[in-house]
């Protein structure tokens, strides 16, 4: 592969010699466009290379157009990517076979498969440890010096899937250069796509309609992905995520999106089904093609709806997860000693360092962070036996799982029963006299310096009172908290100065209602 890369250099080099003799070398700005084009050109090199190297294969493979098979493979991977993982290796080979077979129908099927696999493996570049390609190109630095640089890229990459499986995905480079520029702002692209879809369906151009529907699906997947990462970050550190405005906005936006798409796609589904069924009547082959495409589109839209439902249920779980994590992290006893911020103080500063220097840090960490190994003392007698023992067959079921170690959880409750009783007593407010949280906190602080934390925690929970539970259990009264916009002025807590009160519930009325429902 790199042979192509070196071919790229000579014209540049001669330019440099000419430049140094006649005029100052062009600056980096002038060079940037050239570097970009050189990189784009490099992405096509692996494809040309396939046709050059097919002569080296054992057998007569000249009849196959390898670059064509490769482009078809990239298209197939791009189109068959499942949204959670990627395209399946075997499936891509199977779908490539008809095209390979068409190029040389007289050849045996085994050879067709060999060609398909060879092309796919070369696009992944199985032989290299990075599983990628490298091209060398030259640029002029700010000081006019000519620098040769390595450009690393991949065309098809392997990504981990569920259960240890491996899937294929086309890279940005492959999509941009070899499929065509498709990446635009997805938000606006989707609005455009929706309009396009309606127009396309009305004109019967279903091929483009399918593409538009697929694009409409991205937004949902992207919301799900953003949400997953936000929740992951929340689990690690609540403070890392802006739960005051950014996340609630995102969740509201995503819920709107789901509601909107759900309506929209059900409408599409109805329309397309009609288009599909109407197409059935025609004997015209063009109508048959339409019918097939409409059927595919029905599948895609169904999948869209399934994904929207999934996203919606995840969105509804986000709030409870945040509150649980806040309880765990923010209301835990503050640590007595300060810890090292492994990411902020080690990982983040190390990554931008040059490799040589970064390795010194990782080496130091490795030397102290891996534990120890007890050296094995080998006796000759054992060695002979060891060498003569036949290798153990790999277990079909894999290694035995270690027995789980059960450790009794220590009672690490932050607050004692007495403190809870004291807090409940404070919050036992008459129904007609609600109080400000600030006053409650001050009272609590007089009783016990730890008590304000418990009172604040209870008050925050009361902001979303368990009305449903109270209703089912026929409770007589319920603690609630309301935010009227007053800011809390307290040395230990921030946020809203909630109004905390007790609501009297009509237990008898609720019981009667429950009986009616039952």
């Amino acid at each position: 592969m790199t042979s192509h890369a070196s071919d790229l250099a000579p014209p540049q080099l001669s330019g440099a010699q000419l430049g140094s003799a006649a005029r100052p070398a062009p600056g980096p700005a002038a060079d940037e466009g050239l570097a970009r084009r050189l990189r784009a050109l490099a992405c096509t090199a692996p494809l040309h290379d396939l046709d050059t190297r097919k002569a080296n294969l054992a057998g007569e493979y000249g009849v196959y157009a390898m670059a064509e098979v490769a482009l078809a493979a990239i298209d197939l991977v791009t189109l068959n990517m499942d949204f959670d993982t990627g395209a399946d290796h075997e499936q891509i080979v199977a779908r490539l076979l008809p095209r390979v077979a068409a190029q040389a129908p007289a050849r045996p099927a085994a050879e067709h498969e060999r060609v398909a696999r060879w092309v796919l493996e070369n696009l992944i570049n199985v032989g290299s440890v990075d599983r990628g390609f490298r091209a060398v190109y030259g640029t002029f630095g700010p000081d006019g010096a000519y620098v040769r640089r390595d450009y690393d890229f991949k065309l098809i990459e392997e990504v981990p899937g569920h259960g240890g499986s491996v899937y294929l995905r086309t890279t940005d480079e492959a999509v941009n250069v070899l499929v065509g520029a498709l990446d635009t702002d997805v938000t606006s692209a989707q609005i455009a796509a929706e309009v396009k879809l309606e127009v396309l369906i009305s004109r019967g151009r279903l091929a483009d309609a399918q593409l538009a529907a697929e694009q409409a699906r991205y937004r949902t997947v992207q919301y799900a992905e953003t949400l997953r990462r936000t929740l992951d970050a929340t689990r690690r550190n609540v403070r890392a995520v802006d739960w005051l405005s950014t996340v609630p906005d995102m969740i509201a936006e995503a819920l709107d999106h789901v509601a909107d798409r759900y309506r929209h796609e059900n409408a599409i589904l109805t329309n397309i089904r009609r288009a599909r069924d109407e197409a059935e009547t025609g004997s015209d082959p063009k109508m048959g093609e339409h019918k097939r495409r409409a059927a595919e589109l029905v599948d895609i839209v169904k999948d869209c709806i399934r994904r929207h439902t999934q996203l919606q249920s995840r969105l509804l779980e986000a709030g409870p997860l945040f509150r649980a994590e806040q309880d765990r992290q923010a209301f835990a006893t503050p640590a007595t000693r300060t810890g090292l911020d492994l990411y902020g103080q080690l990982v983040a500063p190390v990554l931008p360092l040059p490799l040589e220097r970064a390795t010194r840090v990782t080496d130091a960490f490795f030397a102290r962070g891996t534990g120890f190994r007890t050296p094995a003392a080998v006796r000759v007698g054992d060695l002979v036996e060891l060498l003569l023992t036949p290798p153990v067959e790999r277990e079909y079921l894999g290694a035995e799982m270690p027995e789980p170690e059960l450790i009794a959880t220590p009672d690490d409750s932050r607050f004692s029963e007495e403190q809870l009783a004291s807090a409940m007593e404070l919050l036992d407010l008459p129904a007609d006299a609600p109080r400000r949280l600030s006053g409650l906190l001050a009272d609590a602080r007089r009783r016990d310096p730890e008590l304000p934390y418990l009172v604040a925690l209870l008050a925050v929970h009361a902001a979303s009172p368990p009305v449903g539970t109270a209703y089912r259990q026929g409770e007589q009264r319920l603690l609630f908290a309301v935010d009227d916009g007053t800011a809390l002025d307290d040395p230990e807590f921030g946020g809203a100065d909630l109004i905390v009160g007790t609501a009297l519930l009509d237990a008898a009325g609720m019981a009667a209602e429950r009986a009616e429902v039952a």
């Binding site: 991949k154 937004r219 990982v347 990554l351 490799l355 960490f365 050296p375």
Partner: protein
Amino acid sequence: MIAEHDADETPPPTGEGGALPAAGPYATRGAGAAPVGGVTPADAADAARLVAFGLQPKLVPARDAEYAELLRRHREEPGFARLADAVAAGLGLIVLEVSSRAGMAVAAAEDSVFAVRMGDYARRASADSGDRFLHGLAHLAVAAMAFPRPEDLADDGYIGRITVNGVDAFVRQACRRLEERAEERGENTDPASDAPGLEAAWRVWARRTATGATKDARRLAGSTTGIVGKAVAFLTDSGFLQRTGDDAGGAYRTTARYQLQIRDMAGSAAMAELLELGVVSVSDGTATLLPPDDTDDLDLVAEAGLPFHS
């Protein structure tokens, strides 16, 4: 107690006191201190036995009555404790903690026979500087994911949970952010061909494949998930992690020993090296492990499986 022993300058009868390495807790507790009333060979054997238990990192004191009994002696008899610490120091071990939760937690001193060397750990690492870095970074990333907040590392009761794919995705995400930042500044991050050592470290991880198909369905050793998988398997053998499931390439939880090792040994060693390189990072206690700030620009991490990035 200490003062009494400091006055007594007789070397311990367990061997030539002067030959003991000066490193380790034994030295810090006052050299030349002898246990009260002399040491019997049986005491020495018990002390060595305790260190031997400590050298089996997966052994839990709660499951071995003899281990638990020796730990009790270590806690209650200062003379025995010093003897055990001296045995450890003589073997080139550093005692991190002796407790019923972590057992006799020892770490290998740098030149000890117990120390793990990168060349033995991964053969390719000694030949290829990129691989050497990747293996080291994998260990660092596992620790950073296991203890995301400074409080988590400081809190003795904290148990971290990680998955192999999670660690890889987290490093890739950090690399991607650096890549974007470089792009914004219009920097060309492609390294010069004749100076591979000057390549930015994040690029080495970013350009390595995340996974790869192999003939026998095992994880591709050279891929980043393979490298992280090797790190967690090794840490599990060190008694630092426990496997809890197969999700996302393998799920693990941390042990008390791992926290001690990272907090007292590895973290500070790496920080010292970083300071020596002139990189000073000051933490103000705010969160650093942030999610990507792309709620609107919608770019995707590798695991999303989507074809088009913004």
